[in-house]
């Protein structure tokens, strides 16, 4: 018996060994492929930063506008590539806020000058030169450190996969921690520079929210407000309780309410100041659609009217499964105020408003000094691209993407080219296109859920 078992066991052992070996090989192969991806991103990042640095240098020494423009275009492109490649290496455990900000600054600032000088074809101002000089100094530091890391990576064959498995996943330190420490050094060195101050118009901004009027409310009051709101909106409420408290841009209390005889809750956010219901989301299941959009819009309008939203125009309709999403903006003397949006979701089964969001309205709504447009409506329609079929035209205040607190009086021209629908916002004083919005619905596909 033994005579048989021993060779069989031995054979099995050999075979297991072979099996383990092939598995190991496969694993190694997989890790190598991942490593190659990381290495590519890293070396490209170094290359991007080198290019950024040399292009900045070229901008600084050149005196011909054309050459400067060329360098600035390259800068803009390389900065985007750098931030994308930085996102491709596994160093999420290192804080790189300032470094990322620097790369973003370079992209934004080069674009800013490009945009400005493209129209006027003029030389850099002294101020711009100084700013580019400052960016150059910072990029030099980043470049030097990156090159140091690169040389060590090449010399000692350091692995990013190892960084990912040991440092990122297990929170341990590597024996050779050059990569992690290198990036930490970059961040520290960039941090050590004084903060760069840019003029308005360089970075895209979100309009600063206005402070909300009213007195501070307590948690109990918030619960009371939510209870009253939902009692009125959805029938008797069985329970209302504090869910969370958040101190973001607008401090709010989150309250959860449950309707009598039901289990699925509704969430409301109530501003700590003034006690406004800023958002409401009901999480109920929605049955087959019974209403059309017109009826649903009427329901949304009724709801908003009840909550004191007057003079509102519907500007956008969206759909979701058995739900219609309506976006309204308030008007003042017939001018649409685009900053002050209110969104409502209407369930198409029974027409109930199941979600409501007035964050923008609360943040930005105020009385405007309505100006008169310098250009007449007929002139605008006359100068339109002949392929563009105008369907509707209205006046609107549109917030600037770059200047704080600036709103531009525009003609809002809705129309289409073939089947593509657009909204053109045309500056009502200069006649230039201020913003072009293409109205597209994201394509929906069949998907599986569990």
């Amino acid at each position: 018996m033994r005579k048989i078992i021993i060779p069989v066991l031995l054979g099995l052992l050999l075979w297991t060994g072979y099996f383990g070996y092939t598995q190991h090989k496969m694993n190694e192969d997989l890790a190598r492929r991942t490593e190659n991806q990381y290495q590519r991103s890293f070396h490209e990042l170094v290359w991007n930063v080198e290019t950024i640095n040399s292009q900045l240098a070229q901008t600084l020494i050149s005196s011909s506008p054309e050459q400067v423009m060329l360098s600035l275009t390259n800068l803009w492109r390389e900065a985007f590539a750098a931030s994308s490649n930085l996102g491709g290496i596994p160093i999420a455990m290192v804080e790189l806020d300032k470094t990322e900000e620097l790369i973003n600054d370079i992209a934004d600032y080069s674009y800013f000058i490009l945009k400005k000088n493209n129209l006027e074809n003029k030389k850099l101002t002294e101020k711009e030169w100084d700013k580019l000089q400052e960016l150059y100094e910072r990029s030099l530091v980043v470049r030097d450190e990156l090159q140091k890391i690169e040389s060590t990576v090449l010399n000692r064959d350091l692995s990013f996969v190892e960084v990912e498995t040991v440092v990122l996943r297990n929170g341990k330190k590597l024996d050779d921690n050059t990569i992690v420490e290198g990036f930490q050094t970059i961040e520290q060195k960039v941090k050590a520079f004084p903060d760069l101050q840019f003029d308005e118009g360089v970075h895209k901004i979100e309009p600063e929210p206005r402070s909300i009027d009213g007195k501070e409310i307590t948690e109990e009051e918030a619960v009371q407000i939510a209870r009253r709101f939902m009692n009125d909106h959805d029938g008797p409420i069985a329970a209302a309780e504090m869910s969370f408290s958040a101190d973001g841009k607008i401090p709010v209390f989150g309250v959860k309410t449950v309707k009598e005889g039901e289990k699925i809750p509704t969430y409301l956010e109530i501003t700590k100041k003034g006690g406004h219901v800023i958002q409401m989301y009901m999480e109920r299941a929605i049955n087959e659609s019974k209403l059309d959009f017109r009826a649903a819009e009427e329901k949304a309008r009724q709801f908003l009217e009840k909550h004191d939203f007057k003079d509102i125009d519907l500007v956008d309709i969206n759909t979701d499964t058995n739900t219609a999403i309506f976006t309204f903006v308030p008007t003042q003397k017939g001018v649409r105020l685009y900053s002050d949006m209110v969104k409502t979701h209407v369930a198409l089964d029974n027409g109930q408003v199941i979600a409501f969001d007035q964050t923008s309205y609360l943040s930005y709504h105020h009385e405007r000094n309505i100006g008169t447009p310098k250009i007449r409506e007929e002139e605008i329609t006359k100068s339109m691209n002949p392929n563009f079929e105008v369907q509707q035209i209205a006046l609107a205040y549109v917030p600037s993407e770059f200047k704080k607190g600036l709103e531009v009086l525009c003609y809002e021209v809705r129309g289409k080219i073939k089947e593509e629908r657009f909204i053109l916002f045309v500056n009502a004083d200069t006649g230039e296109d201020f913003r072009i919005v293409r109205i597209t619905k994201p394509r929906e596909f069949e998907v599986t859920v569990r």
Binding site: R2, I5, V8, L12, T16, F19, Y38, S83, S84, G87, G88, I89, P90, I91, A92, M93, V94, E95, D97, E101, N104, D108, E164, L168, R169, N170, G171, H203, K204, S243, F244, S245, A246, D247, G248, K249, V252, G254, K256, P265, Y267, E269, Q279, Y281, E283, T321, I325, K343, H345, A355, D357, P442, R443, E444, F445, E446, V447, T448, V449, R450
Partner: protein
């Protein structure tokens, strides 16, 4: 006498080991079923088609030809049962096909969604399946806030797939079908609902490995997660 018992036990253990190891290897395909892929024909393909049809994954003819329709049915089946969905019917797929009865395992539903929403729903499922609904929306909102932020990549996909940014991508939970709740939460987040009011990070205080995450300013706490900027 004792020797005999020993030999017997050893034999049993040996047979068992062989069986288990073989099950792990592709030996079944040699012994039982061969590996089927696009273009294969034969009795076993027909058998496969009948099985898929019974389970509701295949609607075409059981003609024994592994065509595109069969291929996509196999992929769908594999995806649903967390197999590598390459459309190749290997041992594991055969095994799963034999185990599963109609309507078993993951209850499935189909609906429609845009790709961005679907990606977000998968992330939410992988990251926050056990969380309350609002906590799931909050996770989606953090991803959307990152898309808008200049410090992070500019698309939903690029944000989700930053190396090391999300556990669900690392451990593969992203590659499972999302729950319908997560899909709803994803829609809410994409339509602009942000319960966190601008948070860019979240972490689970119980399991967070990285210490620097605590240097972030905490905005709020929902369920198991802490949200911050």
């Amino acid at each position: 006498m004792r020797d005999k018992l020993l030999v017997k036990t050893l034999t049993v253990v040996l047979l068992l080991t062989i069986f288990i190891v073989m099950a792990g290897m592709d030996f079944f395909s040699v012994i039982d079923n061969r590996t089927l892929l696009y273009g294969t024909t034969g009795q076993d393909v027909q058998e496969l088609q009948i099985k898929l049809k019974d389970l509701g994954y295949y609607t075409g003819e059981a003609d024994g030809i592994f065509d595109l329709e069969t291929h996509s049915a196999v992929k769908w089946f594999q995806k649903r049962f967390c197999l590598r969905n390459d459309g190749v019917v290997d041992t594991l797929t055969w095994a799963m096909l034999n185990i599963i009865g109609p309507g078993q395992a993951f209850a499935q539903n189909s609906t429609t969604s845009s790709n961005d929403v679907y990606i977000l729903a998968k992330m939410i499922t992988g990251e926050a399946r056990g969380e309350p609904y609002i906590g799931q929306v909050a996770v989606g909102a953090v991803i959307m806030n990152r898309v808008k932020s200049s410090k992070f990549p500019n698309s939903v996909y690029a944000v989700c797939f930053q190396p090391g940014a999300f556990d669900a991508v690392r451990d593969g939970q992203y590659y499972l079908p999302p729950t319908s709740t997560a899909l709803k939460a994803a829609r809410a987040a994409i339509s602009g609902w942000d319960p966190t009011n601008g948070a860019l990070y979240y972490w689970n205080p119980a399991t967070a490995t990285s210490k620097w995450i605590w240097s972030r300013r905490i905005l709020l706490r929902i369920g198991k997660h802490v949200f911050g900027i």
